[in-house]
Amino acid sequence: MAVVETRDLTKVFKEGQLGAVNNVNLETREGEFLVFLGPSGSGKTTLLRMIAGLETPTSGEILIGGQVVNDLSPRERRIAMVFQSYALYPHLSVYKNIAFPLKAQNVKRELHKEKVEWAASLLGIGALLDRKPRELSGGERQRVALARAIVREPAVFLLDEPLSNLDAKLRASAREELERFHRRVGTTTIYVTHDQVEAMAMGDRIMVLNKGVVRQLGTPTDVYDNPADTFVATFLGSPPMNLAELGDVIVGFRPEHFRPVSTVTDAAVPFRFKVENIEYLGSEWIVSGTLTGGKLDGKKIFSRLSSAQNLQLGGSYDFAVPQRQLKFFDRSSEKHVEPRAVSWQ
């Protein structure tokens, strides 16, 4: 039985306009870390809030643990949520913050201490119990928010971009902590983010959304190596997949697959590439330029290389893309289609 399920879930904010969420169907797997990934306005947060019970759906059903919960208030749904700002109660100590859900559910006073200490030790914040939220660092606040979420032993965790308020350096370690936390606790988790790196790193499965519609639901490998449409193809991966229109298809290939001919051993499509910009990022090089000759003459292309020592600005070189790395999309529907023959000249 899926922990969280939605059936044709739709949310329309303004009559006559496209819904924020349109006919979303999903089924979570027990214990998985499912990521809702999409740009702002894609509906991912609205979807999460509907599951939480903070927004009412326009149509469709939400099921938690096999039970339709559309009419249930958030408190009745056995979910826990971590907000982007963590929403810690500023006037309560860390201890009281974590204990609040227990108090609200009328758990006996005597049991509070035990459960709070259990949750606190799980997240390593036992020493902070007497502090107030304003005395804590960003990372510590995240841990308190998680402790507060887990103390109720919910069926589902819902996390709404919890890493966005942390500065870049902190984000990586906080992300790792979240992953460790999930492995330890094993609760089904739904995680909302616009950061595709986070999604790829953390997700067991990723649901890519755009304009309220699910574009693809699959493992990181699925969405990266076999994108369902051009949106998914370009949203994941940085720099995004190179796309070019050829006849009635759109052909795509990732920057890391566009390399100097000498480094390609498989059957490959050759290109003539004029280098216009070189960025050295330390661990890799991002080279951009234009193709010369053939049907794609003048097309801007990105390449990602582990070494670009021999390339010079303005120079023209022979590059190639392995045949099997080419992706094909239907030109009108932009959806993925089977590979076919195309003429490049």
């Binding site: 958030p74 408190r75 929403a87 109660y89 859900p101 609200a104 304003r134």
Partner: protein, 304 residues
């Protein structure tokens, strides 16, 4: 840019302290002369035998205070001052919180409702009080009419609302609460909108129902704002003489006198400036305490 910076420094440093003082001085001078001075004068009068129209004045030590403390109307006045202030503040704080909760979410007509509920506060105090005097008139009171119409009272047997001490006290309390309610509500509303939206949502997800969220999360978070509203409310009510003056003139039989209204009655109407000053000085201790708490709230807000 370095040149510009040093230019600013030389201008700023040279002009600021003097200019600042010059800009500030008129206001300070005015306040010192017309608040500080009279304040000291009030203390001075309290120890004298000053009267209106009498140019002479002698030092009489604690005589005024002695006679005041012995007079029964003074004791009633002190009691009333505290009762009116504290009771009305309790009523107002509870009511204003409920009203602020009701007004938080936008709805059609909210602007009009806000206008209507603000009326008691924005209308000049005396005029609102007069309105109530008409409503509580001994013969033509609309309240009497309604009570007679539903047969709670027989015609002509309803009480005189402002004529019986207990009812008069209730009436003064009512008018004070009525006047203060909008002020408190509006300040509390501002405080509520300052609370981030996801805090009540987090409480809802944590399992808190409506009242628990309000009482254990939202209202405690509003403590600084509630303090401001309460402290101002206490000051406004404690130092007011208008409501009593208009509604009951201190009667019946001095039962609704307060410190300020008694000070006025004795000092101006009774021409005994010294007694009036002495009575009004009794306002100071509570005001000092309230001032202390105000400063604490402001200081805490700065620190946070």
């Amino acid at each position: 840019m370095a040149v510009a910076r040093s230019k600013i420094k030389s201008i700023g440093a040279a002009q600021s302290p003097l200019l600042g003082a010059a800009m500030f001085a008129p206001a300070v001078l005015y306040i010192l002369l017309l608040v500080g001075g009279p304040f000291l004068l009030a203390i001075f009068y309290a120890f004298s035998d000053a009267r209106i129209g009498n140019a002479e004045m002698h030092f009489v030590g604690l005589e005024n205070f002695r006679s005041i403390l012995q007079s029964p109307s003074f004791r009633v006045a002190i009691r009333n001052s505290f009762v009116f202030t504290i009771c009305s503040q309790i009523i107002v704080t509870v009511g204003a919180n409920i009203l602020a909760i009701s007004l938080e979410k936008a709805f059609r007509g909210r602007g009009l409702i806000r206008f209507l509920i603000l009326l008691p506060w924005v209308a000049p105090i005396a005029l609102g009080a007069i309105g109530w005097k008409w409503i509580l008139d001994s013969i033509y009171s609309v309240i009497t009419w309604v009570l007679v119409a539903v047969h709670i009272y027989k015609p002509f047997s309803a009480p005189m609302w402002l004529g019986e001490p207990r009812l008069a006290i209730a009436a003064v309390l009512l008018v004070h609460s009525w006047r203060l309610m909008p002020f408190s509500t509006v300040i509390l509303l501002a405080g509520r909108t300052a609370i981030p939206k996801d805090i009540p949502e987090a409480a809802a997800v944590d399992g808190a129902g409506f009242w628990r969220t309000q009482l254990q999360i939202v209202i405690p978070m509003m403590r600084p704002i509630i303090s401001v509203a309460v402290l101002f409310g206490l000051i406004f009510t404690f130092t007011d003489m208008t409501v009593v003056y208009i509604l009951t003139a201190g009667g019946p039989f001095d039962s609704t006198q307060t410190l300020p209204s008694l000070a006025f009655a004795m000092g101006i109407q009774g021409s005994d400036l010294a007694a009036g000053a002495a009575i009004s000085l009794f306002l100071v201790p509570l005001l000092v305490i309230l001032a202390y708490f105000m400063l604490r709230v402001a200081h805490r807000a700065e620190v946070n």
